[in-house]
Structure formats: structure tokens, C-alpha cells
Symmetry: D2
Subunit: 176 residues, 4 copies
């Protein structure tokens, strides 16, 4: 079974910074031979991460809220059509080995919360202070903070290698 | 179509205060002839709200994560078995006219976020400062704060009557 | 917990006979103090069954495929909005103590099959010979055939009373 | 976007013939550079189709009913964990360009019915007469019958090429 890294983040309301970071994250995920999983839409963080991954010849999976090809990112290789709206957010997190949240919004927040409910590790990238404080209180040792895509990837590697992250102060957690 | 008020909150980790508040909220919902909707399990806020509603002869609907009667609150009249785990959280909020969150946890946070994503109004009861700050930033005018069950009910009435809550400072919003 | 009887059947393509039978079945369900559960839409068997139940002062639950009130039967008391299209068919059958299929169509067939998968009992009303043959082979002792609404209700009572239906030839099974 | 062919069929109750056919179908799907999609479990038709596809160096996607790796076919490359039981059957069919049903059972029947509801084309392989009669009546021009894996693949090619299958008598439809 292949390793799947989920990248979650705002759609239409994504900032330019978030789109740039998502593109970089997608590229790095592909370069590490991991599969990229997103919500699959042709906008914001989802679209940017998929484009980044394809630029590095990665494989991309999109878990769509709809039942057809309207609104799907052109950079999605394998489209899973759920037709279940935002309830598909739970599938996004259950199917990812690690989740990277790039930016924040109501949909993204639901994915982080569902990930923590499922005892999954989440890396917050470009999260504002309020989000860090809230989710680190909510998720305790399962929430990590990265300031750059490279730091996020380092954290993914540590999580995948099952290193005892909880017992020390990992890269990128100083801010939180 | 009857009015449905959703009460969301922690299960096994609910505090005594949260259980007491949930019981009172359930009772008040029944007294207002609204239907109570919860996640339906026999623990924490869900169970207490259902028991409160039944004590006041209310009607209760439980949206269960499982496919059978194991773990269901005895005070649920109508059990909807989804067998879809926490993805059912989206059904909880879509089916409620207004959502009251009593306490906080990963599941509850996912429900608030999904509610805001669906443009629903959410009332936070007994929420800590970090939660208020995070969700009011996330949900802008759709998030309200109540300090008592009575305040929460007053807010429900205002929301249902479609009064222009956004243009004034409603009861219970001072803290946020 | 209240007893819930699910009535499934075609929407837009329902025949006049199916609509008449659905209305009668809804009425009989209400008269037996059971709750009626349907797919909740304002068309065909769903709408007719709900109207029949309301005419007899019953309580009706609709499990909607959508996320809002568009297309919902006026005779639904409690609307559960799933926003998950036909995947909600599984919720319909899991939440019903017994399922009555009135007429046939692709959606109805999926509900019968999902019910049998979940080891639920299904009563076929006004089913054509091919449907009876197919589902009785598929579901063995869990599929029953009724020629009239009254026969269907008698079968529901027998199933609810847990009588050993399998060891004898119940009313209405002669045709199959 | 890659072409995804769904193979559905019995799990534990699959016959030796069905397992053999599923393995061959999986192999042929891979040889045509299509992606294989199944329900992902380590049993019956799902497992056999995945193993066949991997033997031919194909890429396999499994849409699991559960939330973790228990019971997953070793030959699944990309596991989508839905945690929604048989409601995931709707995702299986919505995400497949064409569906091949190999054998019959309650789960398989629900997938065929959901596929027809979504206006998808379904090929029945090794289906008994009753199943052919029932589904061809239900799905009209969207249901095809194949006697061999090779015939099924020929039908997939015709469907994908959008040839006017309805206006002539395609290979393998004589029996129905």
C-alpha cells in the first residue's frame, strides 16, 4: 500500500501565499514518492497542490464532493466521486497517513477536527496564532506547526518513521 | 416541518458541568415544542440532552454513527442509523435549524466547522476563551456565545425569528 | 425507541396504482402508531406515503438526498438532510425496522439490496414477477411478497413479533 | 484524468469460477492501462481482481467500508477509507467509468442498482438468467451481458469510445 499525504486548505478564499505554499507542498510530496490526496476541486489550495505534484510527476487523488467532473482540478489523476458534499471531509482524513493543513477555513477546520477525532497527526502550515492555540489544545500531541513546506515535509517523515515526537521538541513547534 | 434544534458536545469526556447544562438545554428545547437532535449515543452531552428533553415530554432524534442499537441513548425516540462514523456529523448540522455546542472536543469542533461551512448559526455554550476566539473568527456573524441555557434558548428564538442579529449586540455576545 | 417502518418506491416514475398503494400503506402505518420513514421527496411513492400517514395523524421522517428544503414532501414532519445523494439509501434501510417496497426502480432496487445486505426483512408490494424472483433468490428468507397494503401490514406485524416466519408459509408468499 | 474501471462482486461467498474470472478481468484492465477500482477487501472478487491487476503491473484503488487497514486486500495500492459501510457502494460506482459485475450478491446488486440510478453502464459477467432479466428490465440500454472476460473488455472499449451501442446488437448481448 502506498503512502498518502493529504493536503487540505481553503478553496475560493485561499490567499496567494497559501496557493504558493500548497504548490510547493504538492511538489515536495511527489518528490518523496508519496501520493497526494486533496478535496479535488479546481480552486485554491486543492488545485495548487495537485498542480505542484504533477509538475514533479507525482500521482494525485482527488476526493470530490460532487458526482461528476464539474469543478474538478485538471491536475487530479484519480477522481473519487462521493456525491456527499462536506461529509467527504472525513474520507479525506481517514485515507491520509498524515494531513497537512495549509491555511484555514470552515472546511479545513472540519478536516483537522475530524482528523484529530480519528487520532491522526495534523501539520498546520501558515496557520494563524488563534488556530494553532485552538487545535493544539484540542489535539494535544497530534498537532504540529510548520513555518515552511520543507519543515512540513520533515515533520511528515518523522511521523511516518514513528519517531517519538511526543517526548521532545520537534522542529517547528516552537511557535505554538 | 417541525423545528429541529441540534445539541452537540463531548461524549465520554464531558464534564459534570457540561452534562448538567446539556440536560437543562434538552428540557428547554422540549418545553419550546422543538425537536431535539443529537448524535444519539448513551454518553455525555448527547445522553444528558436527550434525558432532559424526555423529562419534559419532548421528542428526540438521534443520528447514530453505527448501524445498530448498541450504545444508543435510552432517551432517543427516533434513531437514525447511518453506519458512517463521524461523517454523520455533517448530517447532524444540516438537519438542525440551529446548533448549540455544549462544551468542546474534536467531534464537536468538527460539527461547528461543518455547520459554519453550511452557513448555519451556532451557539457556543460553556465554551472556553480559545474556542470562542477561534470560531468567531472562522464563522463571523454565524457564531454566538451563551453563558446559560436560558441565554442559548433566547438566541435560538432570535435566530428562528430571523431578527437582524448581525446589526446589534445580542444577549450573550459581550464575552466574545 | 419507536418502531420505524420504511416505505421505498419510485419517485417521478411511480404509477397511479403505486401512488394509491403508498398512500394506503402510509395511512395504515400511522394507524398502527408506527413512524413512517421515506426518502422524503415530494414525488411518487415517498410523497404519497407521507400524505397518507399525515391524513391519519401519523409522524413522518424523511431522509433527504439533498442539503436543503427544495423538493421535500410537505407531509414530512422531521427532515433529515444528508446531502449524500443516493448513498442515503443505506441510511433509509438501516433506520427502518421493516422495509416495504412499493413498486420498483433503480433507487428502490438499491434499497432492497442494501436492506438484504444488512440482514433486514423486506416486503415487496406490487412487485412484478421478475423482481420477486430476483430478490427472493437474493434474500432468501428475508423477502416477502404482499398483494395488498393490508397483507403488507400483517407481514410487518409478524416480523415485529419475531414469529418464526421461516418455518411456515406466511400470508402473501404464495405468489413467489 | 485516468480511466477507472470498477469490478464488483461477492466477497466471502464468491465461487471459484467468479474468483478466476475476477482475476482475469483485473489482469486485462491493467493490460489496457486502466485503473482498477474495487471495494478493496481481502476476499472474493475484490481480492482476486486486485491480484490479477497487480500481476499485470496495474494500479489498484480500493474503496474500503472501514476506517483502517484491517481486512484490506494486499493488492490494493491506494486505499480510500470511507468508514461508511455499504453506503460506500455509491462511491464505487460514481467513481468508475464503467462497472463490471462479476457474480451476484446483495452488495453487488446494490452497486448495479446504484450505477443504473446514476445512469452508468454496467456489464454483467457470469450472471445467472434471473439477474440478467431483472437488471436489463431495470436498466434498459445501460446493462450489458458478457460471457467471458474478453467480451467484457470489448464492451468496456465500446462504451468508452461512445459508440452507439444502443442501436445495434453488441457482442455478448444475445443471451439477454
Amino acid at each position: 500500500m502506498k503512502i498518502v499525504i493529504g493536503v487540505m486548505g481553503p478553496g475560493d478564499r485561499a490567499s496567494k501565499t497559501e496557493i504558493k505554499l500548497a504548490c510547493e507542498i504538492g511538489q515536495l510530496i511527489a518528490q518523496n514518492d508519496w501520493i497526494l490526496l486533496t478535496g479535488g476541486r479546481n480552486t485554491g489550495v486543492m488545485d495548487a497542490a495537485n498542480k505542484g505534484a504533477k509538475a514533479a510527476n507525482g500521482l494525485t487523488v482527488g476526493i470530490l464532493p460532487s458526482d461528476r467532473s464539474v469543478g474538478i482540478s485538471e491536475a487530479v489523476d484519480i477522481a473519487i466521486f462521493t456525491d456527499m458534499g462536506n461529509a467527504r471531509n472525513n474520507i479525506n482524513v481517514l485515507s491520509s497517513n498524515v494531513i497537512i493543513a495549509c491555511g484555514m477555513g470552515a472546511g479545513t477546520a472540519s478536516e483537522i477536527a475530524l482528523a484529530l477525532k480519528a487520532n491522526k497527526q495534523v501539520i498546520l502550515l501558515n496557520a494563524e496564532r488563534e488556530s494553532q492555540v485552538f487545535f493544539q489544545k484540542l489535539g494535544a500531541n497530534n498537532v504540529f506547526v510548520a513555518r515552511t513546506p520543507e519543515q512540513a515535509i520533515d515533520l511528515v517523515k518523522e511521523i511516518l518513521s514513528n519517531s517519538p515526537l511526543k517526548d521532545r521538541s520537534p522542529i517547528g513547534m516552537q511557535d505554538s
